[in-house]
C-alpha cells in the first residue's frame, strides 16, 4: 500500500523532524505510531499527503511516487487518503453536513465545488456516513454546537466521503476524554475491518495502541526505533521509546 523510503524532513530553522525513516504499510493494517511529543509523528503523516513537503526521500503509494507528483496528480492521490486531525479541523461556523460534504471536493469539478453544488448521490453518501458515525440527527447543526467526540466523528465522516483506501489519523483522541477516545477509535477500527481501509494512527497512550493496533512503530527524535507487534513492547522497550524516567499510565 505505502512504502516510505529514507524520508527526511528538516524544517526551516534547522529542526530535524524526520531522520531517514523507512517504513512499509501493508494493505488492511491498523498501524499505530507512538512516540513522545515532537518525535516526528505528525510530520511523518503530513509528509505522506504532502501537507508538509519532505526534504528528501520518497513516499510510494501503490508504487507511485507521491513526493514527485505534480499538483493535479497530488490532488488525485490525496482524495484516496483520508485524514483525521487532533483538533478536528472542522469549519466551526458551517453546518455538520457542509463539513462532511467538503470531504467530497476532490471528486467534483472546481467550479461546482466552489458553488457548493453536490449531486444527490454525494448528499446521500454524506447522510449515510453521518449515520455510520451515529450523528445523522446533527446534520444541520453548526459544527461548534457539537461536543469534542461528536466533532471528531464528523471528522471521520468527512474523511469517509473521500472513499479512501488509506486513513491517516493524527492523534485523533488526544483532545478527548478516555471514554470518548474509545468510541472514536472504535469507529476507526470499524472502517478498518468492514471497509478494509488501511489505518495509520498516531497515539500518545500505549494501552490504546496495544488495544487497537495490529502493528506498532515507534519514533524517537525523528528516527524509527521500533517496528513490531503490540505484544512485543515490554518494560525495556517502553523505556527506550519514552525515556528512562517514564512510567506507563493508562486510559480506561
Amino acid at each position: 500500500m505505502l512504502e516510505i523510503r529514507n524520508l527526511t524532513k528538516v524544517y526551516e530553522g534547522g529542526v530535524l523532524a524526520l531522520d531517514d525513516v523507512s517504513l512499509t504499510v501493508r494493505d488492511g493494517e491498523f498501524l499505530v505510531i507512538i512516540g513522545l511529543s515532537g518525535s516526528g509523528k505528525s510530520t511523518l503523516m503530513r509528509c505522506i499527503n504532502r501537507l508538509v513537503e519532505p526534504t528528501s526521500g520518497q513516499v510510494l503509494y501503490n508504487g507511485y511516487d507521491i513526493t514527485a507528483a505534480p499538483p493535479e496528480e497530488l490532488r488525485r492521490i490525496r482524495r484516496k487518503i483520508g485524514m483525521v486531525f487532533q483538533h478536528f479541523n472542522l469549519v466551526t461556523r458551517s453546518t455538520v453536513l457542509t463539513n462532511v460534504l467538503s470531504g467530497r471536493l476532490g471528486y467534483v469539478s472546481n467550479l461546482a465545488g466552489v458553488m457548493h453544488r453536490f449531486s444527490a448521490d454525494d448528499l446521500a453518501l454524506a447522510m449515510r456516513n453521518l449515520e455510520r458515525v451515529g450523528i445523522a440527527e446533527k446534520a444541520y447543526a453548526r459544527a461548534n454546537e457539537l461536543s469534542g467526540g461528536q466533532q471528531q466523528r464528523v471528522g471521520i465522516a468527512r474523511a469517509l466521503m473521500q472513499e479512501p483506501e488509506l486513513m491517516l489519523a493524527d492523534e485523533p483522541v488526544s483532545a478527548l476524554d478516555p471514554a470518548t477516545s474509545h468510541s472514536v477509535l472504535r469507529y476507526l477500527e470499524l472502517v478498518n475491518r468492514e471497509d478494509g481501509i488501511t489505518v495509520m494512527c498516531n497515539l500518545h497512550f500505549l494501552d490504546l495502541a496495544r488495544r487497537y493496533a495490529t502493528r506498532i512503530v515507534a519514533l524517537k527524535a525523528g528516527r524509527l526505533i521500533f517496528d513490531g507487534q503490540p505484544g512485543e513492547i515490554d518494560r525495556d522497550r517502553f523505556r527506550e521509546i519514552y525515556g528512562q524516567e517514564a512510567e506507563e499510565v493508562g486510559v480506561d
Partner: protein
Amino acid sequence: MTARNNSARQRRQAFMLDWLIWAYAVAGGLYYFRSSLTAAGVPASIYLIAFPIGALVAWLLERGGTSIGERVVMETGDESLAERASQRRTLWYRTQVGITGLFIGLLTFVLGWQITEINLYYVFTRADRMQNMTERLLRPYWPVIGSLVEKMIETIFLALMSTVISIPLAALVSFAAARNIMYRITARWGRSLGGVVLPAAGAVAMYWVVSRLLGGIESEVLDIALIRGLAMPILTLVGLVVGASLGTRVARLAEANVGSLASKAIMAAFGAGLGVLAAWLVASVVAMVVFGGSWSIFRRDMSPWHLVVLAVGAVAGVVYALRRQPEEQYPIGPLIYGVVRFVLNATRSIEPFVWALIFVTWFRLGPFPGMVALMVHSVAALGKLYSEQIESIDPGPLEAVRASGATELQTIAYAVVPQIIPPFISFTIYRWDINVRMSTIIGLVGGGGIGQMLFQYQNLAQWRQVSVAVILIVAVVMTLDNVSAKIRERLV
C-alpha cells in the same frame, strides 16, 4: 562590554542607529540657534557638519559603554546572568542609555515647541478675538436646515455607495494581499512568464491599435469621444485576455518539449518581453524623477539611448528567463502579494481628499467624483483590513480541506470564506461610518455633499449657517456611530 560577542552586522546596525541619533542631536542644536546663525551669515550647508560630528560622538560613546543603538539592535541572549544583574542594579539615570534618552527626549520637545511656534502670549491675550465668531456659531440660523438636510442625505448616500461598490473589489483584492494564501501559490515558470508577458503585450498592442484607428477621426453625428473612451478599455482588456490564453498555450508548448531549441527560443522570447517591459517601467520612473517628465520626453531628448535601455532590458530578461526550466515551479504568489500590498499601501496613504481632487478634474464637480474618491480609498483600506482577517483565520480547516484533494479555490470557498464573513461585515459597517465622516471633507474640494455647503458658508463668513451644518454632521455621525456599534455587537 557584551557587544564584543555580537555579529559584525549587528554592530554596524547599532553604529548606524547611534550615528543617526547623534547627527539628529547636532542638527537639532544648530536648528535651535538658526536665527543667530543666519544673522552671522553662516550658510545652510552648516547642517552637513552634523554627520561627521554625529559619527564621532557615536563612536566615542560606543567605546564607553552600552549605547542606545547597541541596546536596540543587539540581542541580549548571550549576556551572562551576572552581567545582567549588574546592569539591573545601575540606576537608569546613571546609564548611558538613560542619559542619552533623556537628552534626546528633552531636545525633541524643545525643538517641537519651536517648530510648532507655540505662543502662550497669544493664548492669554487674544481670547476675545474669536468671541464674535463663536457667538454666531452658538446661534444657529435654522431656516437653512431644509437645504442642508438635503445635502446631508446626499452625503450619507455618497458614503453608502462608495462603501457598497468597494466591498466586492476589496474582497477580491484582499485574497491577493493575504500572506497565508499567496505564499502557497506557485506556477510553472513557463506559464508564469507567458502569463505576464503576452497579456501585457496584447494590452499594449490593442491600446496602440485603438489610438491609431480612432485618433484622427472626427464626426458631427457620432459621439467619437464616447466611442474612443469605450473602445480603449474594452479592447485593451480583450488584448489582455487573448494574450493570457495565448501565453498559457505557448508556454505549454515550451513545457512539452523541454530542452529542445524551440522551447528555449520561446522562453528566451518571453524573457526578452519581460526585460523590455521591466526596462520601460524602470526607465519611465527614472525619467519622471530625473527629467521631470516621462518616457516620451526621455525618448525625444536622449534619442538613441532609449533603445539601448530596452536592449539591455531584453538581454537581461533572456538571461533571467533561461536560468530556470520551463516546468519548474515558480513562487508567483509571493510576487503578486508584494505588488498588491504595495499598490494598496500607496493608495491608502493618499488621502481621499487628494483622490477627490483628481476625480473632480475627471468627472467634474459634484457627488460622483467624491463617491469615486472615497471608493478608491475604501478599497485600499478595506482590502488591508480584510486581508488581515484572512491571515488570522484558523489554519486547521484549510489543512483538512486541502488534504481531501480539494483545489486551492475550493479550499478558499469551504475553509476560508465561512470564517471571514462576520469580521468582513463588521469592518464594512465601520468603513461606512468612516466614509460618512470623510465625505464631509470631500465636499471641501467640490466632491458634493454637505461639506460643499459647509465650505461655501465658511468662505462667506456665514458662521450661523456653518453652525447648522456642523450640528447636522455631528448628529449624523453620532447616530451612525451608535447604530454601527449595535450592529457589530450583534454580529461578532
